[in-house]
């Protein structure tokens, strides 16, 4: 995907890929960084770093409107105990930017 994007935006080389990773994305940033460094060796992306922005799981209570971080992924309103909670963030897995040297 990164190489497609480099081609599309006519970028010759990059030094970093910015990634947004939600707490509920199923991706472990450490493991992904390790794989990324291995995967890019001997490709046009050699040497590029992965810069991960981690996004916690946050919810908004549909009963009282309270917004809170869902610790341990419990979507239980910390103000009124309601379980009727919309997820605001936490599912992200996005390429945010490419950095040119």
């Amino acid at each position: 995907m990164t190489q497609d994007e480099m081609q599309r935006q006519r970028i010759e080389s990059i030094c970093a890929v910015g990634l947004r990773v939600g707490a509920l994305s199923g991706v472990d940033p450490g493991a992904l960084t390790f794989c990324f460094e291995t995967a890019v060796s001997d490709t046009p992306l050699t040497g590029a770093k992965l810069e991960v922005e981690f996004v916690p799981a946050r919810g908004r209570c549909r009963s009282c409107g309270h917004e809170f971080e869902a610790e341990d992924f419990l979507f239980l309103c910390s103000k009124c105990d309601s379980r009727d909670v919309d997820m605001l963030t936490g599912q992200e897995l996005d390429i945010v930017y490419l950095s040119k040297p």
């Binding site: 994305s25 199923g26 341990d72 992924f73 979507f75 945010v96 040119k100």
Partner: protein
């Protein structure tokens, strides 16, 4: 000084694009699509066998059965009376993706089908990230597993709309606590519809069948 070039693309955007096509195709035909997920051995295939046995002829079902290796699950579904069954052998992949499902659906005649069941690979991690164009995910858990599974795999329970607790005939033989698993699951996702069933004895399955019929009626009326 490096320069940042904005991209802002979902890593799974290609999967999501195909999933949207599937959703549109099934939506136009008013087919309810359920993505069944669970650990290996919780009873996804058994639940579908029971459902075929009880509702075949009454409602028209199409089934796509994913497995890492073998077509055993698909064969079981055909033996149980499934007329429209396609296996997907992932050859090592731990989840189904939208392109696999799309290819399988192209090989099925979906005329007059009421409900499509997509039986995912037994895995509570990766399948949660892949949209297959379903209306909802149904997570199956069984009483021979830990009742803390919702806490261990929150993403899957958060993204599911219903939870089927299977093997309730074995309650008492393990330390599985039904009220605890419900509490754990509802903490992650307060909107979960919960069924307690035994695919071996048939206990509790009537509620599941009733819910399926309601989904189909609502889909035909275009309410979902």
């Amino acid at each position: 000084m490096s320069e940042k070039v904005s991209v802002e693309k979902k890593v799974l955007s290609e999967n999501d694009r195909i999933a949207a096509q599937i959703r549109e195709k099934l939506g136009a035909k008013r087919i309810v699509a359920l993505n069944l997920v669970s650990s290996p051995g919780s009873g996804k295939t058994s639940l579908l066998e029971r459902t075929l046995d009880a509702l075949n002829g009454d409602i028209k079902m199409a089934l796509v059965a994913g497995d890492v290796q073998t077509e055993n699950d698909a064969k079981r579904l055909i033996r149980a009376g499934g007329m429209l069954v396609r296996p997907i052998v992932t050859g090592g992949a731990c989840h189904l993706d939208a392109s696999m499902v799309s290819n399988a659906l192209n090989q099925l005649d979906l005329t007059d089908v009421d409900v499509l069941f997509i039986e995912n690979v037994g895995n509570l991690v990766c399948p949660s990230s892949y949209d297959l164009g379903e209306d909802m995910k149904v997570v199956v858990i069984s009483t021979t597993e830990g009742d803390d599974k919702p806490l261990k795999y929150p993403s899957m329970f958060r993204r599911s709309s219903a939870m089927v607790i299977n093997k309730v005939d074995l309650l008492g033989l393990s330390d599985f606590d039904v009220s605890k698993v419900k509490d754990n699951a509802l903490g992650i996702n307060g909107g979960l519809r919960i069924f307690e069933v035994s695919c071996r004895t048939g206990a509790g399955l009537n509620d599941w069948y009733t819910w399926l019929r309601e989904l189909i009626i609502r889909k035909k009326r275009n309410e979902t």
